[in-house]
Structures are given as C-alpha cells and as structure tokens.
C-alpha cells in the first residue's frame, strides 16, 4: 500500500497539490517561453495554438506560476532555512554524487542541496517576475525606458535558462533518488527510505527511535 499508515507522512495532500500545480505551470511557462527564446524551440508554439496565442498566454502562465509558488514559499520557507549542517552537507555532496554516502552529514527533512535549490528557484522567479513585467509589451513596456527594457530582456532570458537548468536538475534528482517521486505523489515514505535519505528527520518523526 502506498498509503500504509506505518509509513511516514512527508507531504500533506495540499502540499502535494500545490507542488504539482506549480510544476504544471512551470512547464507551461517554460515551454511557451522557450519558443520566443530561440527559433529552434519555436515549434513549441503549436502546443499553445500558435505564436500569437503563445505570446498572449506566456506572461499569464508566469503570473500563475508566481502565485502558486508564493503559496509554496510561504509554506516551506521556515523548513528551508540553511543551517551550518546544510553547508557541511553541501561540502560532501560530491561523495554522494559518486554513490558514497558513508560520510554524509545527517540531513533533516530537506538536505542542503534541496534547500539551496529552493532558494535558487526563489531568486530566479523573483528575477523573472521583475524583468517579465518590464518586457510585457501589451501592458507595461511603454512605462520603461528602452535601455531598461533591453536589460530586462537579458535578465529574463538568463534567469529563465538558469531556472530550466534547476528544474532539469530537480527532476533528475527525483528520478535518481528512488521513491522520492512517490513521496511527492502519494505523501508517505517508507521508514527505511527516511532513515537512508533524511536520518535527522527520521529520528524526529519516530521520536528518537531506531
């Protein structure tokens, strides 16, 4: 049973819903945005009923992503505060990538890598929002001087590329760490999984047992 009550609850239904809604919106915003970024990706406009509709929809996908992410931010901000142990974890991350976890510092509910990912995404989305408003030609661009519009175009493209890179990494980390996608889909994780990947959180959840 995926939802065996013996398993530990990692994400509540609303957290999971919020996550997957954000993921969907990030995909919509990302795929529509890529089509303007580089002619190679222009065929992606076919997913959104053509170039004009893609141009109309993309900024709204962006705004909806922001709103959905803002909920996630408010909810997970405290859990993602970087501690000394997290930086220590990050210093050992190369060993983990090489499949050697013997010397990894104990991770809490989120490890240093996940926390860093969280803050990098916050930074990218903040840049995307600010620059996106400046280059939103239909409603806002006329309010800004041309030099700023040009600068914002670069910022938007660069932070979007970084964001896509982060998302690709995030997806791969989920695939690589077996059962972690299940955790986000169904909410509960096996106790063994918790002890393996998030030992400090495991102890907290099981009241300092095993």
């Amino acid at each position: 049973m995926k939802n065996d009550p013996k398993n530990l609850l990692r994400y509540t239904p609303s957290e999971r819903g919020n996550h997957w809604l954000t993921a969907l919106l990030v995909f919509l915003a990302g795929l529509s945005g890529l089509s303007f970024f580089e002619p190679l990706y222009y065929p992606l406009t076919l997913l959104f009923a053509g170039g004009v509709w893609t141009r109309i929809l993309h900024p709204f996908f962006g705004v909806m992503t922001l709103i959905s992410f803002a909920v996630m931010y408010a909810h997970f901000r405290q859990l993602n505060v970087m501690t000394h142990a997290d930086w220590e974890w990050l210093r050992h991350v190369r060993e983990l990538i090489n499949s050697d976890d013997r010397n990894m510092p104990e991770a809490g509910k989120f490890n240093g890598g996940q926390k860093l990912m969280f803050w990098l995404m916050v930074a990218c989305l903040a840049l995307l929002l600010l620059s996106g408003i400046v280059i939103w030609r239909a409603y806002f661009s006329f309010l800004f001087p041309i030099g700023l519009v040009r600068f914002a175009s670069v910022v938007h493209a660069a932070s979007a590329a970084a964001m896509i890179g982060l998302i690709l990494f995030h997806i791969y980390a989920g695939i690589w760490t077996r059962e972690s996608i299940d955790a986000m889909l169904y909410g509960r994780v096996r106790r063994a999984w918790a002890k393996q990947h998030h030992p400090a959180w495991f102890r907290e959840m099981s009241g300092g047992g095993k």
Binding site: F36, W176, K195, H197
Partner: protein
C-alpha cells in the same frame, strides 16, 4: 506584404537560407534636410499609398503632427528649432525607418519570417507572421516600430517595397515637391550626396555631410545634414546608433549558451545514471526494516 519574394537575404528567427536566388541592386532613399520645406506632402503620400489613416489628434504646440510615429503614420516630420552659428534655424527631419543594413528589429524578432530583409536593402515586416511581442521595438536603435492597438501587429515604413519591386520609387519620393527626397541605386545616391555636400560647403556649411551610420552597417535611408557633426540637433538623431550590447548578449550570447547548458545537463544526467546507478536505500537499512514491504 504578401507577394512572394525571391530576393530575401535575412529572415527573422530562421537559421537556414531564405529564398534569395534573385540578387537585386541595393537601393537608398536620400533625404536632403537642407532642401526640405516641411510641407508634409510625404506624410500624406505615405498614407495615401499605404491606405492608412491616423485619428485626428490635437495640436500640441509645435508643427509635428501627429506628435509621434504611429501604426498608421509611418513617417513624421520632426521640427527642431536650433541655435547654430548662423542664428535660429529650423531643422526639419523626415523620421521613419532607416532600413539598417544590420537591422536590430530583425535580430530581436522571435517569430520566423515576421521580418525580412531583401537584397535591395529594404527591411520589411510581414505582419501575417507577427506575434505582437514587441521585441523589434526593443531591438530597434531608432525607436521606429509601432504596435497597433487594433490588431497587436507591428507596423513601420516599408520603403514602399511593393512599389520598388515593380520599379517605382517610394510614394514619399514621388510626391516631394522640392526634390529633398531622392531614390535610386546606392552608389548613385552616395554620388548625389557628395555633390550636395560640396554645394552646402560652398554655402558656408563647413560640417555638411552624409548620415549613413556604420555601427549598424550603414542604412538604406540616408540624410544629408548641414551639421553632420551634430546629428543629435536634428530632433535627437542618434550620433552612433548601434544594436547595443544588451541585445547582442540576449540574442547572440544567451541562446547558444543556454541550449548547450540544457543539452549538457541532460547528457550528464543520463551518463551519471548509467555509471553510478540510482540512489537507493542501502541493504543494511532495508534489513533493519524487514517488516516493511519494499516497493
């Protein structure tokens, strides 16, 4: 413009060759500001030929009417009152698309075929392919393209590409009563400009010269200026226009770099997965929790 052209040398957001079998002569529209009397016949001719009509606006204190280029007014006379060493002068500049040899609009445009450049030098918008993002406005060094509020497409001077294609001069040239606007082969126009500059110099305009800025590879609309050393006095004509570093980074730097990053990321992930394998729960921990069902 919907006519098929076989003389396209650049096409926006397209990495393969556009249909360019036919090579045509480079053309130039030369605007001699010293001969312009500001009658606006060119503005009228432009609207007549292109069948555009601007809304009736308001007088805003000077003769510029309409006060700015619009999606319907593809050329506008700009009147500048300037103090020069000859006293107060009225410098009247016919503003509009300069048809740059290296067009910033075309470089910035993300929609395949929404902007093309013909081998005769004309930069033409193909509104049927325009998606209305306004990136051309961001890329233009002269602030020319205008987004229509009616259809969200961008419009600007076509240099009457439809007339030029059948051997006619642009409508503004045809109508100019003083001969301030002339049109023809690039070499002829440069030669004509030289004659005008010699004449102006003999009349005391020591700094007379041609405006054909090289930062954008030259233009296919050129001016003869009485004060070529100070183009900015002609209603802010930029002295050294260029596409700009930001547009360059955006369009030349970021695009290939990011695609490379995505590709390297995906390949790296696959290589990592097949060499290192998945990150699973270790056998020791699994033994501790034997009672749990493994997935």
């Amino acid at each position: 413009m919907a006519l098929q052209s076989l003389d396209v040398i650049r096409r926006s957001a397209t990495s393969t060759s556009p249909p360019g079998q036919r090579q045509t002569q480079e053309v130039v529209k030369l605007i001699d500001i010293s001969k312009c009397i500001g009658c606006k016949a060119c503005q009228v001719a432009c609207m007549e030929w292109n069948d555009t009509r601007d809304a009736i606006g308001i007088n805003h204190g000077v003769l510029d009417n309409p006060p700015d280029l619009t999606e319907n007014s593809w050329t506008v006379m700009r009147y500048a009152e300037v103090e020069t060493n000859r006293g107060l002068e009225w410098l009247i500049r016919k503003d509009g698309c300069m048809h740059c040899a290296e067009p910033g609009c075309l470089k910035a445009c993300p929609a395949p075929g929404a902007i093309v450049q013909y081998s005769n030098g004309i930069v033409d918008f193909q509104e049927k392919n325009c998606i209305g993002c306004g990136y051309c406005i961001t890329g233009c060094p002269f602030n020319i393209p205008r987004l229509s509020k009616r259809d969200s497409k961008v419009y600007k001077c076509t240099l009457c590409s439809d007339r030029v294609a059948v051997g006619l001069e642009p409508a503004c040239v045809k109508t100019c009563p003083t001969g301030a606007i002339v049109f023809g082969a690039k070499d002829d126009m440069l030669h004509h400009a030289e004659g005008r500059i010699v004449d102006l110099k003999s009349r005391g305009f020591a700094d007379a010269g041609i405006y054909n800025p090289q930062g954008i590879g030259g233009t296919h609309v050129m001016y003869v200026l009485q004060y070529a050393d100070k183009p900015e006095i002609y209603h802010s004509l930029p002295k050294n226009p260029s596409i700009g570093a930001m547009v360059g980074i955006w369009k030349d730097g970021a695009k290939p770099l990011a695609s490379l990053l995505f590709g390297a990321g995906v390949i790296g992930a696959v290589l990592h997965y097949v060499t290192k394998g998945p990150n699973e729960v270790s056998e020791d921990i699994e033994k501790e929790f034997k009672d749990e069902k493994r997935p």
